[in-house]
């Protein structure tokens, strides 16, 4: 979201022409609503939230500043620490696995196989489901009473145990399974589009040079697919930070607080605990974390290049 803002500044070298700002008026007028929305709702709302995170607002916002109290309480709360660790686990694994699995599926799909359309539809289908439905489905599949565990047990392995959602040490991986099932199809499609964009001549050339296919993928095709990877990365990363509904549907944070995530902390404290200040402090921390990752990256990615 900060990306357009950093790149939108018009180059200064053309300033000799007086009508610079009035060129393309209709396009500029047409984008006024979006600009207003971005400035007032996103930027304004963000500033307002950060400001009120320094107050002791309860159910209703009120301007009585308490300094960093909300943040001190936040970082002292075990549930918040657990949430951060969980988001870390979920984020790292979900990033790695959805990229690797997504790319592998796309590469396999790209071998000119028969029924490609059918397979593509099957793999993409879970993405059509909301996280709530996905969460409920996997809650049942992973439930020891009537899911995988009971099926395997009824086949004769009576000591078989597979109940990740009821084991605090494994619960995040249970959620990860559902997230990957839902999300890899989209990653696969993006990757496939990227692979199709690679010129066939490259493949011919590498074949003539006798380079094995895996090396071609790793050292030629993937570097050429950089823009696709970046798009995918942004989509996956924003999905990771805001993960909420999947957890609510699958475990509602349990067992105990073992699968809590930051977004859920924000919601619970803003609305259930009627403590806006605490919720705002938590959401400000989330924003800060995203900013720390995004800003240097956006700078490296877009800052060096001149747009013409």
């Amino acid at each position: 979201m900060t990306v357009p803002a950093t790149t939108a500044a018009p180059p200064a070298r053309r300033s000799t022409r007086p009508n610079q700002y009035f060129r393309n008026m209709s396009a500029k007028i047409a984008s006024i609503p979006m600009i207003l929305t971005a400035v007032v709702i996103f930027a304004g709302g963000t500033l307002w939230t950060v400001l009120y995170s320094f107050t002791n607002s309860r159910l209703l916002p009120r301007m009585s500043f308490v300094g960093l109290d909300q943040y001190e309480r936040l970082w002292a709360a075990p549930r918040w620490t657990v949430s951060i660790v969980n988001l870390g686990i979920y984020g790292i694994f979900s990033l790695i696995f959805s990229l690797v699995i997504g790319f592998l599926l796309a590469a396999l799909m790209d071998q000119k196989i028969r029924f490609e359309n059918t397979f593509r539809t099957i793999f993409l289908y879970p993405f059509a489901l909301s996280f709530i439905v996905t969460g409920l489905v996997w809650q049942w599949i992973l439930n020891p009473e009537f899911g995988i565990q009971s099926v395997i047990r009824s086949l004769g392995w009576s000591s078989f145990r597979f109940d990740p959602l009821y084991d605090p040490a494994l619960v995040m991986y249970g959620i990860l399974i559902a997230a990957l099932w839902q999300g890899t199809g989209l990653v696969m499609c993006l990757m496939l589009a990227g692979l199709r964009g690679i010129d066939g001549e490259i493949w011919k050339a590498s074949r003539i040079d006798g380079i094995p296919a895996w090396k071609t993928y790793l050292f030629i095709v993937i570097p050429m697919m950089r823009p696709v990877f970046i798009t995918t990365l942004v989509i996956i990363a924003s999905g990771i930070v805001k993960v909420y509904d999947l957890v609510v549907a699958q475990t509602s944070g349990g067992p105990g607080i073992a699968s809590e995530v930051p977004a859920k902390y924000v919601y619970d404290y803003m609305f259930q605990a009627q403590n806006l200040g605490q919720g705002f402090a938590a959401s400000t921390m989330m924003l800060l974390a995203v900013a720390i990752i995004i800003i240097p990256w956006a700078y490296l990615e877009f800052g060096g290049r001149k747009r013409g």
Partner: protein, 411 residues
């Protein structure tokens, strides 16, 4: 987006003059959506429609935790409903202080609420700065232990009469492959269980000392340590009840897969639906069979301040009809809760409900936690106890220290 859409609908409603002049539509929001609850609400609607107005039902599914944020954002966002349910206590406190709620003192004086509502603490919870802001409709209490007679028969032990006997019977139940204590995974259930242990094992004074006076010394003291010890027993007994919702946990007791459950009197509705009979199929122990105190909690209706005069009049009519003796009986029999009026006849009540009425008549009641503690403190307690009851490594001492810290931060 949604609010804009709603505002558009609202604007459309203002522009188009609505039909008949007398019958005023009043939207009432609540979170009573299960079978028995819906039937009970229908009684309230019937009584209100009989006054010549129209009840527009605004049920919000997904229990109070989901419904309350929606209600609050509608009131604070300038799109108030005609009336809304909250639990007795501090949930709507700030809305009242912000002047968003309507003062019902005239109606209350005219209808003599002060004299008929029992226990008086219910009305106190509605009173802020000497003015009455809500109409209580029922009493729910948490302090019940529901036991499956069949489960104890399978295990070959007597159905316990007290919490201590119950704990002692746990190994026998486990040996028979029965989970001794059913406990759902939702956080409020764990926190509720602890509060029940606190008042039932520790007594009224201890309960009030920590939750009302917020006494730090008591909170870290040996008396509370005993309660945490009992919570530790409960934690071990609850191992293996892999369910989320409270009614799924109740179902474990109904089917004899679990020995018992500590849950409020709303659980009784589930036993009734399953055609179980109090005394023969299941047993109930108010106050866990130890200290027979009930903490009164329950539901009340609040009325947002409206500009429309017709609607304000309809609000008065609704407040009156909610506390009408006939409505009270019809509603509470379906809901399984106790009426707020002491002067109504409840012959149709079953054994367990009668036990509750006796305790109420004796006056052995205390304020519920919703009245004593703010939503913020309640939430932190929930976080702590859901962690405690799911954990195998968290020590009793550690839990007590954190609990005392939460109590100390309460205002």
């Amino acid at each position: 987006m949604m609010t804009r859409f709603r505002a558009a609908i609202l604007a459309a409603g203002v522009v188009l003059p609505l039909g008949a002049a007398h019958a005023t539509d009043l939207e009432v929001t609540h979170w009573w959506t299960s079978g028995g609850e819906a039937a009970a609400v229908a009684e309230l609607a019937k009584a209100f429609d009989a006054t010549g107005n129209k009840w527009v039902d605004g049920a919000i599914a997904g229990s109070g935790g989901t419904a309350r944020p929606i209600m609050i954002s509608r009131i604070t966002g300038g799109d108030p409903m005609g009336a809304t349910q909250f639990n007795h206590g501090r949930q709507a406190e700030e809305l009242v202080q912000a002047g968003l709620m309507r003062d019902l003192t005239d109606v209350a004086t005219a209808e003599k609420w002060k004299e008929v509502i029992r226990p008086a603490s219910l009305l106190d919870a509605c009173t802020i700065d000497g003015k009455i802001y809500c109409a209580p409709v029922n009493i729910h209490s948490w302090q019940w232990l529901w036991l499956s007679n069949a489960a104890f028969k399978t295990a070959g032990v007597e159905v316990p009469k007290t919490w201590d006997e119950y704990v002692a019977a746990a190994p026998a139940l486990e040996k028979a492959g029965i989970v001794p204590l059913a406990l759902g995974g939702q956080a409020w259930q764990s926190a509720g269980l602890f509060d029940v242990l606190l008042i039932s094992l520790g007594g009224k004074d201890l309960y009030l000392k920590v939750y009302k006076d917020k006494d730090g010394e008591t909170a870290t003291g040996p008396e509370i340590a005993k309660i945490f010890k009992a919570a530790d027993d409960a934690r071990k007994m609850a191992k293996g009840s892999n369910v989320q919702d409270w009614n799924q946990a109740t179902n474990l007791v109904i089917t004899g897969k679990a020995g018992g459950q500590v849950m409020g009197d709303w659980a009784q509705g589930e036993f009734q639906l399953a055609d179980q009979k109090a005394g023969t199929d299941y047993s109930c122990l108010p106050g866990l069979g130890m200290n027979g105190f009930l903490a009164t909690a329950g539901d009340a209706f609040y009325f947002p301040l409206l500009k429309d005069e017709d609607k304000s009049k309809a609000q008065e009519a609704l407040a009156k009809s909610l506390l009408d003796p006939a409505t009270q009986v019809a509603f509470n029999l379906k809901k399984g809760s106790l009426p707020v009026r002491g002067d109504v006849d409840l012959n149709a009540a079953n054994d367990c409900m009668k036990k509750g009425l006796d305790i109420l008549a004796k006056g052995d009641v205390v304020q519920g936690t919703d009245e004593l503690l703010s939503a913020d403190i309640q939430k932190q307690k929930e976080d702590l106890f859901s962690e405690f009851f799911a954990s195998t490594t968290m020590t009793v001492e550690d839990a007590q220290k954190r609990w005392a810290g939460i109590i100390a931060s309460a205002e």
